[in-house]
């Protein structure tokens, strides 16, 4: 397939995944911010939402220091000046989709196009909580539909594999950044184990990757910080864990390599990362430093992105 087509598909999937992740972050942040201060609610949550979304610096340039509910929501959901706002994610996704229409199925295109048309219906300034809730579920439903449409209708060839690789690279990045911003509440030496303050923080982390229910099914225990970290990093059952993302990345990159009859640097790097995750235990990770581990992962994940680009997309 055309390199440009593969590039568009890869980024299309990344932007759809990013929009979904942003919607979850906003959802969870609002929940936390509404809690009474004694349960961990504080205005800081809006700042950490910006950190998780990876656009704290840009926000500072536009709005200065003050991160309020209203201006963070606007910034993450709608701001045209934020290249990764949900609106821009949809805009870019649709532009990409238009230029690779021939590589999309009609169901995928219709999902993106109707989401883009629907987006215009949401007023951007000063949404009520109810409007915001409706908007966020619209975003989540759109990415579910897109993902489902891709899964159910695409031919299993390089077009499908490149879009899957894009989705999982983005997802791994998002999970890692959620962990990175909140890593301090996950450290085992935390003072208030089981205390109300941290409980809501942990629950919110799980919610932001829609894994609160899964947690209970997997561990059959009350929420413990090291188990939250284990679930999101190492547990292969958990579809947003780093391990699960890399199982998928490795698999789809291998599919591409088999199809083209040639392996390359991206296949090797993905396999290395997966092996490293497979050989890790949570204890060791805590010992060497959770923060360092996640930072290292984010760097490797970005490196994989550039390897894929160099190998296929130029």
């Amino acid at each position: 397939m055309l390199s440009r087509t593969a590039d568009n598909l890869y980024w299309l999937a990344r932007y759809m995944e990013r929009a979904d992740c942003l919607a979850r972050i906003l959802d969870v942040t609002q929940r936390l911010a509404q809690l009474p201060a004694a349960y961990g609610g504080s205005t800081n949550e809006w700042r950490s939402a910006l950190l998780t979304a990876g656009c704290a610096d840009l926000f500072k340039q536009v709005h200065g220091e003050e991160a309020t509910e209203q201006n963070v929501i606007n910034f993450l959901a709608f701001a045209p000046e934020n290249p990764s706002s949900i609106r821009n994610c949809f805009e870019i996704a649709r532009t990409n989709a238009r230029s690779v229409r021939t590589a999309l199925t009609i169901e995928m295109w219709e999902t993106i196009n109707s989401a883009w048309l629907e987006l215009k219906r949401y007023s951007t300034k000063n949404m009520t909580r109810e409007e915001l809730a409706r908007f966020l579920s619209f975003v989540k439903e759109t990415s579910l539909r897109f993902d489902g449409a891709a899964y159910r209708t695409m031919l299993r060839n390089d077009a499908f594999w490149f879009s899957r690789v894009g989705m999982y690279v983005e997802r791994a990045d998002n999970t890692a950044r959620i962990l990175d911003v909140k890593y301090h509440v996950l450290l085992p030496d935390s003072e208030h184990i089981g205390g109300p303050l941290d409980y809501f923080q942990w629950a919110s982390i799980l919610r932001s990757v829609s894994a609160l229910t899964s947690f209970h099914w997997v561990y059959r225990e009350s929420v413990k910080p090291w188990l939250v970290a284990d679930l999101l990093i190492l547990n292969a059952q958990m579809p947003r864990s780093l391990t699960s993302c890399y199982q998928n990345i490795t698999r789809y990159l291998d599919d591409i390599a088999a199809y083209y009859g040639r392996q390359g640097s991206s296949q090797r790097l993905a396999r290395n990362t997966l092996t490293r995750l497979g050989n890790s235990r949570m204890d060791d990770i805590f010992q060497t430093g959770l923060h360092e581990f996640i930072d290292g992962f984010v760097v490797e994940n970005n490196r994989l992105g550039s390897f894929v680009t160099e190998q296929y997309l130029l």
């Binding site: 055309l2 440009r4 238009r98 229409r101 021939t102 295109w109 196009n113």
Partner: protein, 473 residues
């Protein structure tokens, strides 16, 4: 202007044969139902994203062409005569262009004046003596036809460069079959959906002889900002070939390659939807970022087929048009099966005089104009517009032709006031391969939605209709 011929209803109120079943159906269907289906059609069009852009109108970045749900119907007999005429005309176009770029017999014979060729801004000296694969130039032609009575079709315009609109022909049919299955049960409508198969067969037949037996075909688009981008992607999709932009292609040793995830892949046939000017910055406009540097040299080396060929514009301006009957006679030794609209060439003094004396009854068009821009419709123009054109004509007469205001036929159309007659034209698409000519029955019917208007161009508020050719049952 005489009363226009209506394709459904005769002057005495009786219904013409082709429309019998439709008229009965229209009588029985409540307007709310029609209105509901019209909205449904619009909704589907918008969701699929069948849009076009109007240049210079930022609010209308992506606009829908209005779709009229009442079909336009031709009988099999009418179509049979029409398609023979179209084939004849396209053959002559091909022979003419070949001649213009090689021996120039027709100029030597004094049938077409030399300056019409040499002074023509779309004449491509680069094509002189250039051999093109299979000696064919116009592989995809859109011949605009209008009807004035039950017998007579006129050719209004030959589009020999990159005619567009075929995606509407196909999508209109798709939508009609979805919305009105009952109509297709009552009428035996010839299918058009095989157009893209016919197009692919045509394109493959045109591959250079050096290509292997399964030639690689691509569609070349200027990109998503082009007004016809939807059509480009639609066609590539239905053809099952790559939709490429200039930056996806490169030339090495006079061979065209596309950049793929598996490395370079050779390209044999380029169905280009890009004007000559932009094809190759080394040969034509150096500022073009849309083209492929070196493409012309690969073309000259005979390693790639461009459809349509470079330089076909010499056959489709409105001044050359007026010579088409003679061109047909010259190359084919036959009488033209389809008439030309009588045309005054303002380049000729006596014609100019006539035109200037009758501006209020004529349609004056720029020789190189298209899209319904830059024309004067005498009977509908005010004094100031007429005087403006009088000045333009005197200043640069060779740039204009004039034609009588034709009473274009009308078809029943669903508008705000209900069902009313509106003027229509027809653009059938003629495919010329190295093996044979293919024409799917029908084409794109364009309709002027404003009462009395004769301008059917989509850029000027025209709409489209599904076009039916009835098979004799």
């Amino acid at each position: 202007m005489s009363v226009a011929f209506d394709e459904m209803t005769n002057a005495d109120g009786s219904i013409r044969a082709a429309y019998t079943a439709l008229a009965k159906w229209l009588n029985g269907v409540p307007p709310e139902v029609l209105d509901f289906r019209r909205k449904e059609a619009e909704f589907i069009f918008r969701r699929i994203g069948i849009t076009f852009a109007v240049y210079g109108d930022s609010d209308a970045q992506e606009r829908l062409i209005p779709f009229d749900i009442i079909p336009r119907i031709l009988t099999g007999g009418e179509w049979g005569r029409l398609s023979k005429g179209l084939e004849q005309r396209t053959k002559a176009l091909n022979l003419y262009i070949k001649d213009v770029y090689s021996k120039r017999d027709i100029l030597k014979a004094g049938i077409v004046p030399e300056d019409l060729v040499y002074q023509n801004p779309v004449f491509r000296p680069e094509m002189n003596g250039q051999k093109v694969p299979h000696d064919l130039y116009v592989h995809i032609a859109g011949i605009d036809v209008v009807r004035v009575d039950s017998e007579t079709f006129y050719v209004l315009e030959d589009n020999a460069r990159t005619p567009s609109g075929v995606s509407y022909m196909l999508e209109n049919r798709e939508i009609m079959m979805r919305l009105f299955p009952e109509l297709f049960a009552e009428n035996r409508v010839a299918p058009v959906e095989n157009y893209t198969d016919e197009l692919l067969a045509t394109l493959k037949s045109l591959a250079p002889v050096t290509a292997n037996n399964d030639p690689v075909v691509v569609v070349l688009t200027p990109g998503i900002f082009n007004s016809a981008y939807y059509e480009h992607s639609f066609l590539a999709d239905k053809l099952g070939v790559e939709l490429v932009e200039g930056r996806d292609l490169f030339i090495r040793n006079d061979v065209v390659y596309m950049r793929t995830t598996e490395g370079p892949k050779r390209v044999d046939v380029i169905y280009r939807r890009l004007d000559d000017d932009f094809l190759d910055p080394l040969a034509f406009r150096p500022d073009s970022a849309l083209g492929v540097p070196g493409l012309m040299s690969a073309y000259n080396a005979g390693n790639v087929t461009l459809t349509n060929a470079v330089g076909t514009g010499v056959a489709d301006d409105k001044a050359v048009y007026s010579y088409m009957p003679d061109i047909i006679r010259f190359y084919l030794g036959e009488e033209p099966l389809l008439k030309n609209v009588p045309t005054w060439r303002c380049r000729e003094a006596d014609h100019l005089k006539y035109v200037l004396d009758h501006l209020n009854e004529l349609v004056v068009k720029e020789v190189h104009g298209s899209g319904g821009y830059g024309m004067l419709i005498g009977p509908r123009a005010d004094k100031a517009q007429i005087e403006l054109f009088r000045a333009k004509l005197k200043q640069d007469p060779t740039n204009f032709i004039a034609q009588p205001t034709l009473a274009l036929s009308t078809c029943p159309t669903f508008v705000d006031e209900g069902i009313a007659p509106r003027h229509v034209d027809l653009r059938p698409f003629v495919l010329t391969g190295s093996d044979r000519v293919r024409i799917v029955p029908g084409g794109l019917t364009r309709v002027a939605l404003e009462a009395g208007s004769l301008v059917v161009n989509s850029s000027q508020g025209g709409g489209t209709k599904d076009t039916w050719v009835l098979e004799e049952s």
